[in-house]
């Protein structure tokens, strides 16, 4: 009885399928981002809420044909221009309009981008491969795009003002 069981066991072991491992195949990677996507999105929202509020007020002030509530937008516009003229807080305008959105772009980019450099080729030493992976995280991508628009708008404003002043 025991011998029969042993034979069956040996047969089962012989018929076991061993998984095939191909060493040439591209190895699987764990693509870890540097920062947490959810936390970066939350901080990003707070970083761009002030410039978004300011831009919204400016656009409404200039482009709104409905004159209801324009005093609100005009007051906001006056506040931001007064920041430039006040001695110790004149740096606050550029910080809000440029530095905060750039920080938002950085932290959200670090949360969704994975970069990998590895050696490829037959001898694993001849060619270097640089691969960038972007995770599709809607909130992070949206915050990056909004921040780019804010920074772009501010740069465009500074450039046009500089050109008009020099002319």
């Amino acid at each position: 009885m025991k011998m029969k069981e042993k034979d069956e066991f040996l047969k089962q072991m012989e018929n076991l399928k061993v998984p095939e491992v191909n060493p040439q195949e591209h190895p699987q990677l764990v693509k870890m981002a540097i920062m947490n996507a959810d936390r970066s999105a939350v901080l990003g929202v707070w970083l761009i809420v002030v410039p978004c509020y300011f831009l919204f007020c400016v656009f409404m002030y200039y482009f709104s044909h409905i004159r209801v509530g324009t005093s609100w937008f005009a007051a906001m516009f006056r506040l931001m221009s007064s920041l430039d003229k006040t001695r110790y807080i004149d740096f606050l305008g550029p910080v809000i309009m440029v530095v905060l959105p750039i920080v938002c772009i950085m932290i959200n980019s670090l949360a969704i981008i994975h970069v990998n450099v590895q050696k490829t080729g037959p001898r694993q030493s001849t060619v270097r491969e640089f691969s960038v992976t972007i995770k599709i995280k809607v909130w992070n991508i949206l915050l990056i795009l909004i921040s780019l628009v804010i920074v772009g708008t501010f740069i465009a404003y500074v450039m046009t003002e500089h050109i008009s002043v020099s002319n």
């Binding site: 939350v42 901080l43 809420v49 002030v50 509020y53």
Partner: protein
């Protein structure tokens, strides 16, 4: 160093310890003080609100930055 002062629910950080509550109370007290200060110097309601909302958002930003670095991390 692990600091578990805040916990996050959505986009808002809530205090999770005594120090967290102290920071929240200071932020709220400063916001109230700012409102009273702006109101005493402004000429109209919209002037007060504009300046106050602007300051409130900045206070919220600073509070969130503190909470971001001191929040309780969930074990992944």
């Amino acid at each position: 160093m692990k600091l578990n002062w805040f916990t996050r629910k959505g986009v808002i950080y809530w205090p999770a310890s005594a120090i967290g509550w102290v920071i929240l109370v200071i932020a709220v007290a400063y916001a109230v003080y700012t409102f009273i200060d702006i109101d005493s110097r402004s000429h109209s309601g919209s002037d007060t609100m504009i300046n106050f909302v602007f300051n409130l958002l900045l206070i919220g930003l600073i509070y969130t930055i503190i909470a971001y670095f001191t929040e309780a991390r969930k074990a992944d």
